[in-house]
């Protein structure tokens, strides 16, 4: 019994310690964000890596999400004769919830794992130590560009996801199911407010911070060997995805 309590205690202490280190890591990264000079070249490179190179997968998932959402919504609304509200329902679901969350999960799978692997390999091959020995700050060169790129690209990609999703919904709802084009877009304009769009953008922005922060942290604290990098990439994807969903709930309850 004592052994069990001891193990539980060790587990709690280890996790609290890890949480503290993760927080200190973010604090240090934020500190270095405000210390010039920013590495503009690296930020642009990471915007291209996280943003441009994720756009295809975001467009693909966005279009199919919009299409299936329209199908399911139409099925329900048809029973109440409320097909005219198909457009705003799809748009609200996408802009407030599905766009930010699903695009964040897709980017986590594609770019978050790659960020963790790249920084992890730099750690185990002593490239991060080499930066430090050259009196260059690794946060400035590796962490800050990734976090800034995440904050910039996530809202943009979520917006692309939303637009493509609404167009996918238009294809299915208007072209296939016969809802009138005027009702689909007209009602959307009536029901959608600026607040809905800003809520979605705030969510994406915070997801951008969460995913890049966790992915960078996992890579930066990689333990030695190939197994360490493998654990870091898995940890980056799993932790980021869970945190995105948990944080999404808190943001929705606060911003509702």
């Amino acid at each position: 019994m004592v052994n069990l309590i001891q193990r539980l205690g060790n587990f709690v202490i280890a996790n609290v310690e890890k949480l503290g280190k993760t927080g200190v890591f973010l604090g240090t990264a934020i500190f270095w964000t405000f210390i010039p000079p920013l590495k503009i070249g690296r930020i642009i490179k990471q915007i291209s890596f996280i943003g441009v190179k994720s756009s295809f997968i975001v467009i693909l998932t966005g279009s199919f999400t919009g299409m299936v959402l329209t199908l399911q919504t139409y099925y329900g609304m048809e029973k109440f004769g409320a097909e005219a509200l198909l457009g705003p329902t799809v748009a609200l679901a996408l802009i407030r919830e599905l766009g930010p969350v699903l695009s964040a999960l897709m980017i986590t799978g594609r770019a978050g794992s790659a960020i963790a692997a790249e920084i992890g390999i730099m750690r185990i091959t002593e490239q991060i130590d080499a930066l430090e020995v050259m009196a260059l700050n690794p946060y400035r060169y590796l962490i800050v560009p990734n976090i800034l790129a995440g904050i910039i690209t996530f809202p943009l990609l979520a917006s692309i996801f939303n637009v493509v999703g609404i167009l996918g919904g238009y294809l299915v709802g208007v072209q296939l199911l016969g809802v009138s084009q005027g009702a689909y877009f007209g009602e959307m304009v009536n029901f959608l407010g600026v607040k809905d769009i800003t809520i979605g953008l705030y969510k994406s922005l915070s997801f951008g911070l969460i995913v890049t922060w966790i992915s960078c942290y996992q890579g930066f604290t990689t333990s030695y060997g190939a197994e360490g990098v493998s654990k870091a990439t898995t940890g980056a994807v799993v932790t980021s995805s869970v945190l995105v969903l948990v944080w999404d709930y808190f943001m929705t309850s606060v911003l509702f």
Binding site: T125, E126, Q127, A130, E132, A135, L136
Partner: protein
């Protein structure tokens, strides 16, 4: 000058360094030898401030790097070049950019001047033709040479070598050792070299320190170490002889 005073460090509950004290005077190279896992690399990382000491001091020209932070530590690190075991070249950029990296980040030199310096350093390490290649396209020996060029481009006063010949074939190892000797004759840096090539370094270094279980077992000139009656040192050199004969 490098001075290590009563250095202690524990890693994962095991005491790795148990009160290390030694001094390397200006212009001298000290070889650090000992069995694997006895704290040689940990000691070297303390000297460059990558690991913080639990107790003791590491003085670089009289300033304690183990307690320094921020700009003060940056100033000390600018004086030091560190050749990592695997080279630690940035694998996303080519050889030219790797060597030019410290100059671009730490100086205000113009593009032409940087190019001239990089090509000069690459020529010094015998690699004039590889500037456009990426680290993954280079052999182990070439990586070490490029890494040495990257270290030397900032004209360090102090050079630290972490097993520069480990994993290389005997001929390449010999050429790297010769390169270190020639570079030292040219630049007169103060240095510490961790190595297992006991016999090859006799002609390069002025002093040898033997590390055993976190303590300096013996320190002296190559001749003093070679003729020492210390049982650990004798046993260590006996194994070195076997290894040497096999090669």
């Amino acid at each position: 000058m490098i001075e290590v005073i009563d250095l202690h460090k524990s890693l994962n509950g095991t005491e790795v360094l148990k009160g290390i004290t030694f001094k390397v005077v200006k212009g001298e190279i000290l070889a650090l030898i000992g069995k694997s896992g006895h704290g040689k690399s940990v000691l070297l990382k303390h000297i460059v401030g990558l690991i913080r000491a639990e107790r003791g001091k590491v003085l670089i020209n009289g300033e304690d790097i183990s307690q320094s932070r921020g700009p003060a530590r940056e100033q000390l690190r600018k004086k030091i070049g560190f050749l990592f075991q695997g080279g630690a070249l940035f694998d996303s950029i080519n050889v030219f950019d790797n060597v030019a990296f410290p100059l671009r980040e730490k100086t205000r030199l113009k593009r032409d001047e940087i190019r001239e310096r990089v090509l000069f350093e690459l020529a010094q390490v015998g690699l004039s033709e590889v500037e456009g290649k990426f680290p993954a396209e280079l052999s182990g020996g070439m990586k070490k040479r490029v890494a040495l060029a990257r270290c030397l481009i900032m004209d360090p006063e102090i050079m630290l070598f972490d097993e520069p010949t480990t994993g290389l074939d005997p001929a390449t190892a010999k050429s790297i050792n010769n390169l270190i000797r020639e570079t030292h004759e040219r630049l007169k840096f103060t240095g510490i070299i961790i190595t297992h090539d006991i016999y090859q370094i006799f002609s390069i270094v002025q002093k040898i320190a033997v590390l055993n279980e976190g303590r300096i077992e013996l320190i002296g000139t190559p001749t003093e170490i070679k003729t020492s009656e210390d049982p650990f040192v004798k046993q260590f050199f006996l194994k070195g002889d076997d290894h040497h004969e096999k090669i």
